[in-house]
């Protein structure tokens, strides 16, 4: 058991602005689940890309099965037995599972042999999959199974998984862990890249913690708790988040009644009979696995999509379902869509110009169609100061900011408009723990001032942490809401997976 399959020695890699890996050194034992834990930007992805032959290290070497690893492309990596599953699936949605599996093969094998091999793998690891189903009809968990089978077809000795649970429901996570344990029993080593501490404790045997491109520590899980891991990962303690149920007022200021939308398009999820209510000062969380109608709901709530079949949207006793985003903003509603680059902000434009994208109620950004540069500059300046946005100045392009800083800017822009209602999608997606904590604190602070907030997120922990009430969206249908102080996680997990 103590044999090292990977011995990483002094790997360094620099990019023009940052030293992404700085003398990374650690060992991975054969047939274990080894975690690489770190915040976004800690250098995990850079290291994995070097291991998989996507980029070349500046110095250092990797000893793989007692020989130095010399590969220059992913196909060579696969040949020597290193398989990789990326966070974002690379499957052809319109093809069937079988076709997708066949397409992933590098070598020439007969169709029959391959078929047998696929059947065997599915049996061996109990990866229940319908080979004739088109991939688009699968849930994220099933898509991940397809990815796993595709990699296993190449008999990997090491399987690298990048944030594998980010799109899975709690039940699917459980199933994944069962599969991973079975893989380890069958002589596969798993390199598990994550920033989720609980998962490291649950599934991994040992962990390498990275911060700022350096390895902080490599150890077996042993007596580590998520708290000790967090401190090592961040290099500091995080402020505790506490929400306040007493701040929620009795008056309802936003209501959706029996909203339905049919898109007649396999790439969109129809919304069925959605109803929700938000009280003044309340945070309502909408949980669910990706692709269950969240983005469609977000577009309807923001007014980017005005196509509603039936139903009402009522804000402060006023029907608003026919208003476009700017008209809704004029009623003091703010939005933060999921995608930072190209949706809530334009990467090619400066921060000042991006401030002009969201002209809130009573702003002084324009007068008779002319842009008032002074007000815009001042406002951008205050967003940057109040929300700790790290950037060169207000004229920096949005694309030059890190994910966390850009998200702080976007959320700051919307919060500073002092909205009565804020609708926000995936507020802390893909950003570091510091920014994540800051944003969650900001949302709670805003709700205490009387703003109603709807948070759509896949991160269940986040929603339970910050929201007062929680509803679950599954296949375009929204569940009733639960109080988060007395919530049954099992039940939520069931609803996320389509159970009753």
């Amino acid at each position: 058991m103590n044999e090292l399959i990977l011995d990483i020695q002094n790997i360094s890699k620099s990019f023009p602005s940052v030293k992404a890996n700085n003398k990374v050194t650690f060992g991975v034992q054969k047939n274990t689940v080894h975690a690489i834990l770190g915040e976004n930007g800690a250098g995990k992805s850079t290291f994995v890309k070097i291991l998989y032959g996507l980029i070349k290290q500046d110095e250092g070497k990797i000893i793989y099965k007692n020989n130095e690893l010399k590969i220059s492309s992913p196909s060579e990596a696969r040949k020597v037995g290193i398989g990789m599953i990326f966070q974002h699936f690379s499957l052809f949605e319109s093809l069937t599972v079988r076709e997708n599996l066949m397409l992933g093969i590098d070598e020439y094998v007969s169709y029959k042999k391959l078929e047998i091999k696929i059947e065997n793998l599915i049996q061996k690891y109990k990866l229940a999959l319908d080979l004739d189903a088109p991939v688009i009809s699968l849930s994220s968990g099933q898509k991940q199974k397809v990815e796993i089978v595709r990699v296993l077809l190449q008999n990997p000795k090491i399987l690298v998984m990048d944030e594998p649970t980010s799109v899975l429901s709690p039940q699917e996570v459980k199933n994944l862990f069962i599969t991973l344990n079975a893989l380890v029993k069958n002589e596969t080593t798993i390199l598990y890249i994550t920033h989720k501490l609980e998962e490291v404790i649950t599934i991994c045997n040992s962990v390498t913690i990275m911060r700022d491109g350096k390895v902080i520590e490599t150890s077996s899980i042993g007596s580590n708790t998520s708290k000790t891991l967090a401190t090592k990962m961040l290099g500091r303690n995080l402020e505790q988040i506490t929400k306040d149920f007493s701040a929620v007022k009795d008056s309802v200021n936003f209501e959706v009644n029996n909203l339905s939308c049919k898109f007649n398009d396999p790439f969109f999820t129809d919304l069925n009979n959605i109803s929700l209510k938000v009280h003044k000062g309340e945070i309502l969380g909408i949980a669910g696995v990706a692709g269950n109608g969240q983005s469609e709901l977000m577009e309807i709530l923001s007014g980017e999509n005005l196509y509603i079949e039936s139903g009402k949207i009522i804000f402060n006793k006023k029907r608003i379902e026919k208003l476009n985003p700017q008209q809704r903003r004029n009623l003091s509603i703010s939005f933060v869509p999921e995608d930072r680059l190209g949706h809530s902000a334009v990467p090619e434009l400066s921060l000042v110009e991006n401030t002009l994208l969201s002209r809130f109620y009573n702003n002084k950004f324009t007068k008779n169609g002319l842009i008032q540069k002074k007000f815009l500059d001042d406002h951008t300046e205050s967003i940057i100061n109040l929300f700790n946005v790290k950037c060169l100045d207000t004229n920096s392009n949005a694309s030059s900011l890190s994910g966390g800083n850009l998200q702080k800017y976007v959320i700051g822009r919307e919060i500073l408009s002092k909205p009565e209602l804020l609708i926000i999608s995936h507020p802390t997606w893909g950003i570091d723990a510091g920014a994540e904590n800051f944003i969650r604190q900001s949302l709670i602070k805003l709700s205490k001032l009387g703003t109603s907030i709807i948070v759509i997120s896949q991160d269940l922990d986040e929603l339970i942490q910050i929201s007062h009430k929680l509803s679950i969206i599954y296949n375009g249908t929204l569940s009733k809401s639960f109080n988060t102080d007395s919530i049954d996680i099992e039940k939520v997990g069931m609803l996320m997976g389509g159970g009753k």
């Binding site: 990019f15 023009p16 996507l54 980029i55 070349k56 220059s72 492309s73 923001s302 007014g303 980017e304 476009n324 985003p325 700017q326 008209q327 809704r328 903003r329 939005f335 869509p337 995608d339 190209g342 949706h343 809530s344 902000a345 334009v346 090619e348 434009l349 110009e353 002009l356 994208l357 969201s358 002209r359 324009t366 169609g369 002319l370 842009i371």
Partner: protein
């Protein structure tokens, strides 16, 4: 084996002087290729380039001719930049130019025996309306039926050409014109005033400079210009901001058509003075090159319109003095566009041999 397969990867850092560099590289490469073509044809490349690019503007008259040609090019190009900034590919400026000439010229022909200071302004207005209406057709097709504007606007060019053809051989034929396919000459008050005695450069130049300035103001200082820019960069962000896409598409087309129509009217009431078949040597198409060579920036467009206008003059001189077919002018225009697109790619991306990183 990987070593020999090139791949195109984006550059991480792009310098800010790129805006000047790209057109400059394109022009230098065009000159080099041009001299190669001249020497292959058996001409002294230095002498040919001199004949092509220097001698046409070495006299005051030549320089005035340069401005005569640059005026419609700059005017149409600045109009096109309203569309291109918004990622609307209006290729039909030539048709919009012809329609402007027909509407404005029609006024002049209707009032052929009436003089008055009001005639020219009325013609200008009619020219703008003609071009705008013609541009409105692809705009409405796009907003109502999601039709590809590249196809519709291009096809309408040929329709406009045939309408002009019909008019000058049919109802608007000059009664005393010996059956030539042309209209009556416009009377004095229907002509653009010349700026200097004996030179053909006309009042259209002043209008163009004014509109270039106005456009600079709109692009950089108004919310409308900002909306065009954002919609061009990211449709999703424009929807997030609540900008009305259809309104922007229609406005961009109407402005562009109006500018092109004005350019057409400027030609027929300026240097030409009547309507006939070939009122435009493809100004509407060439202006597309002018717009991109000027990087859709008003100041850039002024410079690029002068450079492209020079290829028209150079081609005429090359034909007269070197007996080179004047189509060489189009070769130069094509080369500029070709190198412009190439340089743009190489500035934003680099070619790497071997591994992708």
């Amino acid at each position: 084996m990987n070593l020999l397969s090139p791949s195109i990867v984006p550059r991480t850092q792009i310098s800010s002087y790129v805006n000047f560099l790209v057109p400059l590289i394109a022009i230098i490469l065009t000159l080099l290729t041009g001299s190669l073509i001249f020497s292959l044809l058996g001409f002294n490349p230095i002498h040919s380039l001199y004949t092509f690019f220097i001698s046409p503007i070495s006299s005051l008259y030549g320089f005035s001719e340069l401005l005569v040609k640059a005026t419609p090019l700059a005017l149409i190009a600045i109009g096109l930049s309203y569309c291109f900034k918004n990622n609307i590919y209006n290729i039909g400026a030539e048709g919009q130019l012809i329609m402007g000439a027909i509407f404005g010229g029609g006024v002049a022909i209707y009032f052929y025996n009436v003089e008055g200071f009001w005639l020219l302004p009325l013609m200008l207005l009619a020219g703008v309306i003609g071009g705008s209406l013609w541009a409105l057709i692809p705009a409405l097709l796009k907003t109502k039926f999601n039709t590809n504007e590249i196809l519709t606007s291009l096809m309408l060019v040929y329709v406009a050409t045939f309408i002009l053809d019909y008019l000058v051989v049919g109802p608007w034929k000059d009664p005393s014109g010996f059956s030539y396919p042309k209209s009556r000459p416009f009377n004095e008050s229907a002509r653009m005033p010349e700026l200097f005695d004996g030179l053909r450069v006309h009042f259209g130049l002043i209008i163009t400079l004014f509109l270039v300035f106005i456009s600079w103001f709109i692009f950089s200082k108004t919310i409308f210009g900002f909306q065009l820019k954002v919609s061009g960069l990211s449709i999703k962000a424009a929807r997030f901001a609540g900008f009305n896409q259809n309104k922007l598409i229609i406005s961009a087309f109407i402005i562009c058509g109006g500018f092109a129509g004005l350019a057409g009217l400027g030609e027929v009431s300026g240097p030409i003075g009547l309507l006939y078949r070939d009122i435009s040597p493809n100004y509407g198409f060439t202006a597309i090159i002018v717009a991109f060579l000027g990087r859709l920036h008003p100041v850039g467009i002024i410079f690029s319109s002068l450079i492209i206008a020079l290829t028209y003059l150079g081609a005429e001189d090359a034909q007269v003095f070197l007996q080179i077919p004047s189509a060489v002018g189009f070769i130069f225009q094509g080369l500029v566009l070709f190198y412009l697109l190439g340089a743009e790619l190489l500035v934003n991306y680099k070619i790497q041999f071997g591994k992708i990183s």
